[in-house]
Structures are given as C-alpha cells and as structure tokens.
C-alpha cells in the first residue's frame, strides 16, 4: 500500500477533516430534549481546549516516530469518534458512581485511542520516511499521557470558566 503523495490529493480530505474537527467550537445544536435550559455552549470551548491539549501531548510524545502528515488533524478527527463514544459510555454507566463511570470511560478511551493512533501511524504514514514506526506500547503511553493531561486540564479550565466566565 503506497502512501498517497502529492499535496492536492491530500488537501481536500484534510480540509474537510479540519472543518469537521473544529466545528465543535461553534456547535450550538442541542439534540437532547430537556425541559430546562439547554447545555451551556461554553462547554464546547472547554471540551475543545481539553482535546487540543491532549492532541498536543500525543503529538509531542510521538514527534520522533513515523506519523502521517497533518497528524494533529488526524488526532482531532479521531476525537469525533472517541468523544461521542465516551459520552455514550458515560450514559450507559450513569447508574454507577460518577467517579467510577468517568474512570472506566477514560480508561477505555486511553486503550481505544492508543489503538487508533497506532493504526493511523501504521496505515497512513509515508512509507519512505527514515523515522521508526511507533510501537503499540508507545501509542498507548502517548494516549495515556494525553488523556491524563486532558483530564487534569479540564477541571482547571472549568475553574477558569467559573472565575471569569459569564454568570
């Protein structure tokens, strides 16, 4: 399987991916039918920043490994799948203690995202690069560190939001 070469062929799907990835920042849709006020739109920014932080951590850990072009966009795109899946899992586990549910959800996200990162690096990276391919363990480590950083950043972002945000 030869890596796709030539910028024009890459640009279109990546632009689409970027648009879809960043649309979370401006998303206002609230499909959940609730009797009270809808979800605070600021949550999109909090989640968006936390994800961006995670992505940067993963990128930093794998910076010396073989990875595709626009790796950050790939990672952001990955969250389009893993974040809704995480929320769905929380929904399934909502009868549990919140701390347990979140811990299990985060644990699974680490495992799944590690696998996806491994797949991205192996399947979409250019074959002619001199960089070594990342091992599965390294991908899981990157995913773990990224998610820990994101999980630590989220409460800090919430605290900042509470301190400086509207009402």
């Amino acid at each position: 399987m030869k890596a796709i070469s030539g910028l024009p062929n890459h640009v279109r799907p990546l632009v689409i991916l970027a648009v879809v990835s960043f649309s979370i920042l401006t998303a206002r849709a609230n499909p959940i039918e609730i009797p009270e006020k809808s979800v605070k739109p600021e949550i999109c920014f909090l989640i968006g920043f936390a994800i961006l932080f995670e992505v940067l951590c993963v990128w930093y850990i794998l910076r010396h490994s073989l990875r595709p072009r626009f790796f950050i966009l790939w990672l952001l795109g990955m969250h389009l799948v893993t974040y809704p899946a995480f929320l769905g899992l929380l929904w399934l586990l909502q009868a549990m203690r919140p701390a347990f549910a979140v811990a299990i959800g985060e644990g699974l996200v680490v495992v799944v995202e590690g696998l996806i990162i491994y797949g991205i690096c192996r399947l979409t990276a250019p074959a002619n690069s001199p960089l070594p391919r990342p091992t599965l363990a390294k991908c899981w480590l990157a995913s773990l560190v990224g998610n820990v950083c994101s999980a630590v950043a989220f409460p800090i972002l919430v605290a900042i939001f509470e301190r400086f945000g509207p009402g």
Partner: protein, 541 residues
C-alpha cells in the same frame, strides 16, 4: 498488507478488556435481562399513580429474591460520596450537561440517591428483608443515614424490633429519639412498649426525655401506666411542658394531676404554665374556668392571650360572654378581633341576616335576598337562570336594597360581610343598564376610606356599559392603587372590548396612568395599553 497483520493482537487485547469489564459490571442480579438497580430506579421514578410500572418493578425485585437482592441493597446503603463524584455532579450540573433528577443527558447519582434506591428495595421486600435488619442497625450510626435506614427498618416492621430496641441506647441522641417513635410501630403490646422506653425518661439528652414523654402521652389506651409516668415527668424541667400537654390526652383519667397542674399554672414558666392551663381546661373544664377568667384579666399579654384563646372554646355562659365583651375592646388586636368574631357569630344566630332587610322587594313570592343566594354552583358565580330572570324583573326596585347590601357590615362590631357585599355587587352587574340610576350613589362610594367597599362599588357599575366610564375614570385617580389598577383593567377589557368605538377615549385615559406613583399600576396599565393596541380597529360605517 503487512501493516494489517499486526492488528489482530491489539484488537484481541481490546476484546479481552471489554469482556473483562462486561463481567465486572454484570455481576448484579438481573430479572428479564435488566439489573436490580434499574428496577429500583423504575420504581423510584414512577409517579405514585403509575401503579403498573411500580407493580412491575416490585414483581421483578421479588422474583430476584431477597437472598440476591439484600447484599445489593446494603451495598447501596453503604455508598459514600467521594470528592471526584461530587465534582463531576457539580460541574455537570453547572454546565447543564447532567443532573441528579433525570432532566439532562446524563443522570448522575449521589450517595444519597443510592441510599434511597436501596430504601425502595427494602420497601418492596417488606418483612422478607428481615435478615438485613442487624446490618441496617449498624448503619444507623453512619452520618446522614438515620432517616433512610430508619425507613428501611420501618419497612421490615416487626422483625426489626430487636434492632430498634438496641437503638434506644445508641450513642447518637437523634437515633435514640427515632427509636422511641419507631418502637411504637413494631411493638404490639402497649405495656411492653412503655416498659421499654421508660428508662429513656432518665436519658442524658433533654430532647430524648421530651420525646419519651410525648411517646408515653400517646398511649391513651393505657392511662394507668402513662399518667403516673407523666405526673412524675412534670418534675423534669426539660420535659415538663410536654408532660403537662400530654396529660390532656387522658381527659378525666388525668384528674389526679389537677393539683400539680394548678400549681404549675401559677408558678411554672410561660411554656409550662400555658401547657398546664390548656390541660386543666380539658381534664376539669369547670374548675379551670375561674382560673381562665382571672388570667384573661392579667396585664401580661402572653398569659392574657393564652387564657383568652382557651376561653373561646367554652360554651357561651354569662361569665364567658361578659369576658368576651371586655375582650372585644382589648388593646391586643388579636384578642379583640377574635372576641368580636365570636360575639358576631352569636349575634348572627340570634338575628338572621334576612330579618335585617325587611324592606327588600320580592319576585314570585321570594325576597331579593333569597334570589341573590341562587348561584349555579355552590357559592360560586354566575347566578342560576331563574335568579337572573327574577333580578331583571325586580329591576330598578332592587337598587335601594342592593345599595344597602353593598355597604352592609356585620353588627354589632361592624365586621365586614364579604358575601353579602359581593352578592349585591353581582346583583348590580346583573341588572345591566337598569342599574344606571344607582351610578351617582356608587360614584359617591368611591370617596370612601374602605378599599374593599370602593372596589365593590366600582365593579358594580360595570353592567351599565359605557355609562360606567365616568365612574371608572374617577376610580383611575383613587387613593388606593388596587382600585386604580382594577379600574384601568376594567376599562381596557370589560368596556373597550364591548365598545370598540370608545377605545381611543380609553387609551387616552389610561395613558395618564403611565406615570402613576405605584409601579404595579404602571406595569399593569402598560400591559392593558398593549392589549388595546392589539385589538382590531372598529369598522367604519
């Protein structure tokens, strides 16, 4: 394609983790593939009228069986909140993403929610949950859980008796207090119950001793056991008001306490003295009357008021009536008002209302007053068809009688007679245009100082249509804000809607009220003007 060959291993690992987690979280007992917790949640969420859903959940819990259910319920009752969970709940709630009520995408459960889910399970199992009673007893000491554990033990009922007995000596006074009440529900024999709780009369906690006295006071079927204990408790300063009050439950069986109670009335503290006096009026009303009469003349307002309020329950004998007559002029407005109400009621019995309106016109053999009582629904408007017809037939002859009724007050103290006044107002409205001759008198009433009467007089004019506009415009400048408000409202709705050609005139009248001193009136008038602007313009002929 080599890249793909390395994939089965990670996928296998993931699958194993998934299966492991699945096994970890499916160890809860199930019925019809649903977990016990989800059945409990169904029962918790279902409103009480959704009996089918509740019965379904109950059947499921019973089908799973107490042996499997009880460990889970106890586990739920043992849950504690951790800081992470509390943070998750708080943040989710703040961002309106989750809550604990089920109104958001995710419904989290605090520890207390889990406790109450567990309690629901105990409620469903009833006495079948008896094997868990001892474990529940140990949970009574856990902070914040007394109420929920108490409910669980209540659901178990009689088999929980030993645990409740043990709780009588619990180190937490709130638990001991709870146990005193709860034991009554699980002990069949009154004597045994009193014997069990009697040691609590010497408890170190004032609240527990008071609760014990109250509990003994409720044993009205065993006066021979309860009364001596209550008399003894009168010596305990913390529980004596409760004991004095509780003796009233035993009626003449508590006569033995009369001398002590009399003494307490004279020398006890305010609370004790009041309780003792109240009990005296129950166990020996005749002997208590002179005490009441004497105390009702005391200068101390608190004593005076209690004595007077107890006196109000006595039959209207001459000494009582005389005391009430004096009280009607009392400086304490509460006492004076109560005395006037009682004396007015007595007056009403002796002087029926209709006898005070002998000159009322009649129709079809019935006086106007009788027709005015013929509402379609009991005491509610509108009038029956027959009454409407009769009042129309009486016509302008009804005006003097209606005016008398509109300003009528209850003799001998001039208390308001709302019902009579309101019937008169409705009579005027029903007369329609025929009430026009009464407008000058009704307009004059607007200068009165009684807000209620001014309002009634103003509303009485509404049946006359546009003839009411001068009265209503006068009411727009009335001293009482509610009158101005109601006048504006009547003009905007009752008049402008029926007579759209007068709308402009009404708009200009209401515009003046936009600078009213009362903010409620300004706001209301603004709304009225908006309503008027929304109404269609009258068609030009």
């Amino acid at each position: 394609m080599n890249k793909w060959r390395t994939f089965p291993l990670p996928v296998l690992i993931l699958a194993l983790i998934g299966i492991g987690l699945l096994l970890l979280f499916t160890n809860e007992p199930r019925y019809h593939r649903r977990t016990l917790t989800s059945w409990l949640q169904q029962c918790w969420d279902a409103p009480s009228m959704e009996t089918q859903r509740i019965a379904e959940a109950q059947a499921a819990v019973r089908a799973i069986g107490p042996k499997k259910v009880l460990p889970v319920l106890l586990k739920l009752l043992r849950f504690e909140d951790d800081p992470v969970s509390l943070w998750v709940i708080r943040t989710g709630d703040k961002l309106r993403f989750s809550d604990v009520n089920g109104g958001r995408f995710i419904r989290w459960h605090s520890a207390e929610d889990f406790w109450w889910l567990g309690e629901r399970g105990f409620e469903m199992l009833g006495t079948n949950a008896a094997p868990a009673a001892e474990a529940l007893g140990k949970l009574l000491d856990q902070p914040g859980r007394r109420m929920v554990v108490g409910k669980c033990l209540e659901s178990i009922g009689k088999p929980a008796e030993p645990v409740v007995c043990q709780a009588l000596t619990n180190q937490d006074e709130a638990v001991r207090q709870w146990a005193i009440d709860e034991l009554a529900a699980v002990t069949d024999d009154v004597g045994l119950y009193v014997t069990r709780i009697e040691p609590r009369l010497h408890d170190s906690s004032d609240a527990v001793r008071a609760a014990t006295v109250d509990a003994i006071g409720n044993q009205i079927d065993a006066p021979e056991l309860a009364v001596p204990l209550l008399v003894e408790a009168l010596k305990d300063s913390a529980a004596s008001p409760n004991a004095a009050g509780a003796l009233a439950n035993f009626g003449t069986n508590a006569l033995v306490a009369f001398p002590i109670l009399t003494n307490l009335v004279e020398h006890g503290g305010i609370k004790l003295s009041d309780a003792a006096l109240k009990t005296l009026t129950v166990i020996a009303p005749d002997q208590a009357l002179p005490i009441l009469l004497r105390r009702s003349r005391l200068p101390d307002i608190a004593m005076h008021r209690v004595a007077f309020l107890l006196l109000c329950h006595y039959p209207m004998t001459p000494p009582v009536e005389s005391a009430l007559q004096t009280a009607a002029a009392d400086s304490d407005p509460v006492i004076a008002r109560q005395a006037r109400i009682i004396l007015t009621e007595k007056h009403q019995k002796e002087h029926p209302l209709e006898a005070q309106f002998p000159d009322d016109p009649s129709y079809a053999g019935k006086p106007l007053g009788e027709w005015l009582k013929m509402h379609e629904n009991n005491g509610d408007y509108p009038y029956s068809q027959a009454a409407s017809n009769a009042i129309h037939q009486i016509g302008t002859n009804a005006i003097p009688a209606l005016l008398r009724r509109l300003i009528y007050v209850e003799p001998p103290f001039g208390l308001p007679a709302y019902e009579v006044n309101r019937d008169a107002m409705q009579g005027f409205i029903l007369l329609g245009d025929q009430a026009t001759p009464a407008l000058p008198q009704l307009k004059a009433l607007l200068d009165g100082t009684n807000q209620n009467l001014v309002l009634l007089a103003m509303v009485s004019t509404l049946g006359t249509g546009t003839n009411a506009i001068p009265v209503l415009s006068k009411a727009l400048t009335n001293q009482f804000a509610p009158v101005r408000d109601e006048a504006a409202n009547s003009l905007a709705h009752s008049i402008a809607e029926r007579f759209p050609e007068r709308r402009q005139e009404i708009i200009s009248l209401l515009t003046n009220l936009l600078s009213d001193s009362d903010s409620d009136v300004r706001l209301s008038v603004k709304g009225d003007l908006q309503d008027l602007n929304l109404q269609p313009l009258p068609s030009r002929k």
